[in-house]
């Protein structure tokens, strides 16, 4: 791949950016607030893929990009590099999550019970066209229960491990500073599990869905069933200079385990989690994690394949870079093409010559 430096076009470039921004119109704080308040699921998706939790900045990125998700993620990731890292928080454990949705498709009666939480899973998908005719869509309020749900729900996987359904892998203590970090070291294969899960957490939702879906449809080696899906808020536990651990607030997180009967007589589990609420991504990501062990090289469920191809900034950047001048490389292709044509035409001439020479 080669680029070629070109000259000229400065005015056109300047005007093209002006045209793009003029089409989007004025962006002010009110517009950003409206985006943040009205599109929380989209904000979550952008924050997850950008690997930066800040709803206002995500809304601003969406406003500036006109809703081009890859552009918004790029803006946020670039902005992230302007900020110092102040700390690494205490690891979030599943049993500490402030849980608002927790379901299992594999087990009906799970410890703690099933809570649907905010979802449209069982709803009719009807477009409220009346809104366009001046009839505002006013949601019907929830009828709250007499007593609150427990804020924290037990871990299904922990119960499965305790009864021998799932292999128990005890936690190996790792200091927060020593957790492998993709933002500071390259992704190498075979990948460390911490790298795999961090990479999936910031992966492109559409890419993870496409590859995960291919595994679900039979191109993988394990069909997933949702073991546990959870939407929750996690405390950001940081350390005060005097040593006190406290919470600086909560952030939305989602996580999923998917399961399949393993060869060892136990259940195999795949796992994925991300910042923000994004069920499609964590179910598809967990499916890829479930399928990855022993996957054939270059298959969609091979770890190297899906991690490389679901990195949104690299993938979108690589795709759109083809718009940039490739005159030298393409010129060489043209030269090769012309050369091939010339060679195709060339054998006829000697034959004619030969025939012409034959009489002699």
């Amino acid at each position: 791949m080669a680029y070629v430096a070109t000259r000229g076009g400065e005015r056109a470039i300047d005007q093209s950016e002006r045209l793009y921004r003029a089409d989007l119109g004025e962006i002010d704080a009110q517009r950003v607030t409206a985006i943040r308040q009205s599109l929380p699921w989209l904000i979550d998706r952008v924050m997850g893929e950008a690997s930066l939790y800040e709803p206002d900045l995500a809304a601003l990125a969406l406003a500036q990009s006109g809703g081009d998700l890859y552009e918004a993620v790029l803006l946020l990731r670039a902005w992230r590099t302007t900020q110092p890292r102040l700390a690494i928080a205490e690891p979030v454990r599943q049993e500490d999550l402030f849980t608002v949705r927790r379901i299992s498709a594999a087990f009906k009666d799970i410890p703690g019970g099933q809570i649907l939480g905010p979802t449209l899973d069982y709803s009719h998908r009807l477009l409220a066209t009346g809104v366009l005719e001046g009839q505002p869509f006013v949601p019907t309020p929830v009828e709250p229960a007499a007593r609150p749900a427990p804020a924290r729900q037990p871990s299904l996987a922990a119960w499965q491990k305790s009864v021998g359904l799932v292999a128990d892998v005890p936690a190996a203590p790792v200091a927060p500073d020593d957790i492998p970090d993709l933002t500071r070291e390259p992704l190498l294969f075979p990948a460390k599990r911490a790298h795999t899960l961090q990479s999936l957490a910031r992966a492109d939702t559409g890419g993870v869905l496409a590859l995960g879906y291919s595994a679900m449809r039979g191109y993988g080696n394990a069909h997933p069933t949702v073991n546990e899906l959870r939407l929750a808020e996690a405390e950001l536990k940081v350390r005060h200079p005097r040593g006190t651990i406290f919470s600086g607030g909560r952030v939305k997180v989602s996580q999923a385990e998917v399961t399949n009967k393993g060869k060892s007589g136990k259940l195999d589990l795949g796992f994925c989690a991300t910042l923000g609420w994004n069920e499609v991504k964590v179910i598809a990501g967990a499916t890829l994690d479930l399928n990855a062990p022993g996957a054939p090289k270059n298959s969609a469920v091979n770890e190297e394949f899906f991690l490389y191809h679901t990195e949104p900034v690299e993938a979108s950047g690589f795709c759109i870079h083809f718009k940039l001048p490739h005159y030298v490389t393409f010129q060489s292709s043209l030269d090769a093409l012309r050369d091939a044509k010339a060679k195709q035409a060339a054998p006829a001439a000697p034959a004619v010559l030969q025939r012409q020479e034959e009489p002699a």
Partner: protein, 152 residues
């Protein structure tokens, strides 16, 4: 330890952690107003740090118990020191609001200095109650979605 019902970290927590947890989620206007009220009582202060930055958030995988980085959270941080006493105040809150982090640091320093203790105690108790009530309201709505699955 988090409150079993609401998740608000309070029961069994050291008072300092309870103070900080509550300040971090306190009502914005009231927090800043309270800090403005106690600020003149603290004397001269030195600002050690007032900035935004990132905190990496790790999460423990439930399958192989691996700690991994979920992503970074933007926070506002404030660190102050009283000039005439060996007392420091610190605040860190999710988001970009430096004033909010500074208000937290000022109140933290006031608590350490024993300034306006009665009013501070009332403020923390009131805010903790408000936070618990908000969490409880949310969890009552969540409980309404509990489902008993039946199979045929």
């Amino acid at each position: 330890m988090s409150d079993e019902m609401t998740g608000v970290i309070s029961a069994g927590m050291p008072p300092h952690a309870h103070l900080l947890n509550t300040l971090a989620r306190a009502d914005d206007g009231l927090l800043k107003g309270f800090a403005e009220g106690v600020l003149p009582l603290l004397g001269e202060i030195e600002v050690v740090q007032s900035r935004t930055g990132l905190v990496m958030l790790p999460l423990r995988d439930t399958v192989a118990s691996t700690d991994f980085h979920l992503g970074e959270v933007l926070v506002a941080e404030a660190h102050i020191r009283l000039k005439d006493r060996p007392i420091e105040g610190y605040g860190m809150v999710i988001g970009r609001d430096l004033e909010r982090a500074m208000a937290m640091a000022v109140i933290d320093a006031a608590a350490m200095a024993g300034t306006d203790e009665e009013r501070l105690g009332h403020f923390i108790a009131t805010q903790a109650t408000r936070i618990r009530a908000a969490d409880e309201e949310r969890l009552r709505a969540v409980e309404a979605t509990r489902v008993e699955m039946e199979t045929f």
